[in-house]
């Protein structure tokens, strides 16, 4: 089996990929080399999955399946991109599938996603949080993050992807374009729409953002 060549970017410049050696070993059938790749990328991939799905446990399950898929398909990895980018694509695909299944399930079971955001006890999640000490602050922060995550979850899949990749994971427009097979302009316009939508959602959920 040939060694995985160093990936090249859009300008045909060779991109150094620290994972190339381990990928090559995996392609030769060395299962243990894959554990290095899992160790290196599990956190980032879990965060992507979590921000896409919005549920930690589900994200873990999805990521596990994504890593398995990556292991099965590592022979097909052509090395024309970084392994992390290729892996991220797999995680996004699995996340999309999971979300589609979840959406279909929720549509069968309950009402529309256009319904106003409600808490579990039925009240609207608009009331401000109390601020009492550091624990309260941490709780507030966690609550705020949960709300932000909830708002991210209300974005449509395409907008969510670019928002998560750019604003949370810090991918470059070029990387996102490679990953989603989109022109950079499309990525930007999609991202700007996502930001405006999220701002509106957050202002509805949290209140005055200023």
């Amino acid at each position: 089996m040939p060694e995985t060549p160093d990936p090249v970017d859009a300008q045909n410049r060779t991109i150094a990929d620290d994972d190339a050696g381990f990928v090559a070993r995996c392609r030769r059938g060395e299962t243990e080399a894959f554990s290095v790749l899992v160790g290196r990328h599990q956190k980032k991939m879990l965060n992507i999955a979590f921000r896409m799905i919005g549920d930690y446990d589900e994200a873990c399950d999805v990521l596990q399946e994504a890593f398995l898929s990556a292991y099965r398909a590592i022979g097909k990895f052509r090395g024309d991109a970084r392994f992390s980018t290729w892996l991220c694509g797999i995680v996004l695909n699995h996340s999309r599938s999971h979300m589609a299944q979840k959406l279909a399930r929720s549509r069968r079971e309950s009402g529309s996603l256009d319904d106003p955001v409600k808490s579990k006890d039925g009240g609207f999640l608009k009331e401000p949080c109390s601020q009492e000490g550091s624990i309260v602050e941490r709780l507030e922060k966690r609550e705020l993050e949960a709300k932000v995550q909830e708002c991210i979850g209300f974005l449509d899949g395409e907008q969510r992807e670019v928002l998560v990749l750019r604003d949370i994971q810090g991918f470059s427009y070029e990387e996102i374009g490679d990953l989603l097979k989109l022109p950079e302009g499309t990525v930007k316009s999609r991202l700007f729409r996502a930001r405006n939508t999220l701002k509106d959602l957050l202002s509805r959920v949290i209140g005055d953002l200023r």
Binding site: G29, T31, F34, S35, V38, G39, Q42, K43, L46, N47, F50, R51, Y56, A59, C60, L63, Q64, F67, L68, Y71, R72, L144, E145, V148, Q149, L163, D167, I168, K188, L191, F192, R193, R195, N196, L198, K199, L202, S203, L209, R210
Partner: protein
């Protein structure tokens, strides 16, 4: 530009991706529009919130969980491959050894098979002829060495000695095979050593010792062949054209003879061969057919033959008689005294039993 249009461009405005004109226009609008200014502030805050989102940590032993699944997957994949292509462990040496043995055996059979088949195919099959004696036939090899011709042998049923088995192998039954045998039989007859013809071959003597009951018959056969040799010599004095005809007839007769002397592995063929052998046709040319018939009948009576049929045909008189096999030779000698005898078929080779002789008596002034 309306507020909605400006609001849609605010993210690009924040990233400095707009043209200077657009940027200047928006900046001017923001200064005078509280709604758009608020939208810009909210957008900045939203980005801050996004950037401030903490990272989640993988659960404990998450990597191990993934790797256990991966190893399981790898084991299954390897297991399938192993089952299909790499049956390792203890099986490999056993299978490899078995394969090697089979390969060597196949090679050996291939190497040895051809001559073995040649030798084995015409294995003598004991032929019971009219309930007496084991009749086997000459193999093509035997025909190629006429000095060793001993077509009739009596031996313990199904238990021939190896040398006899090789000599008296059943011939092939295909036409091609017969032609080949005819071709084979020609040359030796012509090239036969006169000395060997005058004196039965030494191997014959050995055979007589080996198989005493067939000794007499073998001797008579050898003499018969010697007679043929003489005929061959006589042919040398004939013109080439006539000689060829004679030779053809002779060798044809020889081929016919050899065909008759063979035993067939198939019972029906064996029976047919037996029937052929127990009959002989001959033509006798005489000056006076009526006198000859009387003479022949008298001679038949002397050898205790039973005349079964007598016919008068256009071409001559026809007589059919049953005669004891051992008396055939004596009878033929007596016939020679009556007229010129021409054997349509050679004398039967059965040592015992009766032979049906068909005699055609033709007038020859």
């Amino acid at each position: 530009m309306t507020c909605n249009e400006i609001e849609n461009r605010l993210p690009a405005f924040l990233e400095n991706l707009l043209s200077p004109e657009e940027r200047k226009s928006i900046t001017g609008h923001l200064a005078s529009c509280p709604r758009c200014s608020r939208a810009l502030a909210e957008l900045k805050k939203a980005e801050e919130l996004l950037h401030g989102l903490g990272e989640v940590e993988p659960p404990p032993f998450f990597e191990q969980r993934i790797m256990s699944r991966v190893r399981e997957e790898a084991g299954q994949k390897q297991g399938i491959l192993r089952r299909l292509f790499y049956p390792l462990h203890i099986k490999v040496p056993v299978q490899a050894l078995a394969t090697l043995v089979i390969a060597l055996l196949a090679f050996h059979v291939y190497q040895q098979g051809d001559p073995e088949m040649k030798r084995m195919a015409p294995l003598p099959i004991p032929l019971t002829e009219q309930g007496k004696g084991q009749v086997t036939a000459e193999s093509p090899k035997t025909l190629a060495a006429p000095s060793a011709v001993t077509p009739v042998k009596r031996a313990p049923a199904g238990d021939l000695p190896e040398k006899n088995r090789q000599r008296f192998a059943a011939p092939p039954f295909k036409n091609g095979g017969k032609e080949e045998r005819i071709a084979d039989s020609r040359a030796p007859i012509r090239e036969e050593n006169p000395a060997a013809a005058n004196h039965p071959a030494p191997s014959m003597a050995v055979k007589e010792k080996d198989v005493p009951p067939a000794g007499e018959e073998a001797l008579s056969r050898a003499q018969d062949r010697a007679g043929k040799q003489d005929a061959d010599k006589a042919l040398d004095t004939l013109p080439p054209e006539q000689k060829r005809k004679e030779r053809t007839a002779d060798t044809g007769a020889a081929a016919e003879e050899s065909r008759k002397t063979i035993s067939a592995p198939v019972p029906s063929r064996m029976a047919a061969a037996a029937i052929r052998r127990s009959a002989m046709d001959l033509t006798i040319q005489v000056r006076d057919t009526d006198a000859a018939i009387r003479e022949i009948e008298a001679r038949l009576g002397q050898v205790n033959a039973l005349i079964s049929e007598r016919q008068h045909r256009r071409e001559g008189e026809f007589l059919k008689a049953e005669i004891a096999a051992q008396n055939v030779a004596a009878f033929l000698e007596q016939l020679e005294a009556i007229g010129r005898v021409h054997l349509e078929t050679s004398p039967p080779v059965v040592p015992d039993g009766n032979v049906t002789i068909s005699i055609k008596i033709v007038s020859h002034p």
